[in-house]
Symmetry: C2
Subunit: 171 residues, 2 copies
C-alpha cells in the first residue's frame, strides 16, 4: 500500500493529541497554548509547551524547547529520522530552527495568520535556496488546535477588558 | 547634529570589534566564528559566540545565546532599548528571535549569501506584516567579519581535503 506523503499517519494524529495536551498545560499556567512533540516511529524523544512568560525567555517557544531537549538526548545538533508535531504553524524563529536542526518532517495543526513561516507569510521549511528542506503535513487536528488558542485569548480578553492595560504576552 | 539612522555610531563600531573578538574565540574551539554583543548605550548586557558544536545544540547561534542571556539579566523576554551587534547577517531562526524579543536595533557585519534573513534571502527584521520591526545597520566592519569566516573555512578545508569525510559543522 502506498502512503501519501501529505497525509498524516495514525501516529501523527496521536502525537498531535499529545501536543494538544501540552498546549492545555501551557494555558493552565498563563502561557499562550502551543505544544510540540518530537518522535521517531512511535517513541516520543522530547516534548514541550510554550514557556516564554514563565522562563522570561523570548526563544522559549514549544518547538525550540523540544528541539533543544531532543538534541540533548541524541547528543547531536542534527535531529535526524524524526518528526516534530506542533499545534500551531511555526513562526520564523521556529521554522528556521527546524532547518538548522535538519528535521526531516514537520506536522502542524492550525495555521498562524500573524506569524506563520511554513506556509502563510514565508515558506522557510520548503525553500529550495536553503541547505535543508522537510516534508510538511498541514492542518492535523487544526480545529482543535485553533480552539485551544481562541479559548485562551477570549478568556484573557474577558480578564482584561478594553481600557485595562494589555498583558505582556502579546503573541 | 542630526544622526543618520543608517550609519553606525562609534559605539556600534567598538561593539562590532568586541563581537569579532568573540568570533575569534569561537574559531579557536572549532566553532564557526560568529560573535554577538547586546548593549545599551556603552554598556554590554550580554555577549556570546556560536556554540553549536560544543553544546550539541542546533539553536546555539551567537545571537540566540546573547538574547537568552540578556533576557535573564533583564528578567523579561522583551529586550527593549538595546542594540544587538553580530558579525554575520542573521539566519531565519535568529532574525525571527530578534523579532520575538522586540529588539529595536540590529547592527551586522558580513552578509550571508546562504542563510541571510535580514536582507539577502528574506527581510524578516523589516517586514511590515510582522508585529515588530527594527532599525538595521549593515556592513559594519564587513570585511573583517568575512575574513574571519573565510580563514576558518579555508583552514578546515586544508585539514579535510577532498575525499576525506565532511566535518559535521556545515553551516
Amino acid at each position: 500500500m502506498s502512503v501519501d506523503a501529505s497525509t498524516p499517519t495514525p501516529v501523527d494524529v496521536a502525537m498531535m493529541s499529545r501536543a494538544l495536551e501540552l498546549a492545555e498545560q501551557a494555558a493552565a499556567i498563563g502561557e499562550v497554548p502551543v505544544g510540540a512533540v518530537i518522535y521517531r516511529g512511535e517513541t516520543i524523544l522530547a516534548e514541550a509547551h510554550n514557556l516564554r512568560e514563565s522562563d522570561r525567555d523570548p526563544t522559549a517557544h514549544a518547538e525550540m524547547l523540544a528541539l533543544r531537549d531532543a538534541a540533548r538526548h541524541m547528543a547531536s545538533w542534527r535531529i535526524e529520522d524524526c518528526t516534530l508535531a506542533v499545534t500551531l504553524e511555526p513562526c520564523p524563529m521556529c521554522a528556521g530552527a527546524l532547518i538548522n536542526a535538519r528535521i526531516p518532517r514537520l506536522v502542524y495543526g492550525a495555521p498562524d495568520p500573524k506569524m506563520g513561516a511554513v506556509d502563510t507569510l514565508y515558506q522557510i521549511c520548503t525553500d529550495v535556496r536553503l541547505n535543508h528542506r522537510m516534508v510538511v503535513i498541514r492542518s492535523v487536528e487544526a480545529d482543535r488546535c485553533a480552539t485551544v488558542l481562541q479559548a485562551f485569548f477570549q478568556a484573557r480578553r474577558g480578564a482584561n477588558p478594553p481600557g485595562k492595560p494589555t498583558p505582556p504576552n502579546d503573541e
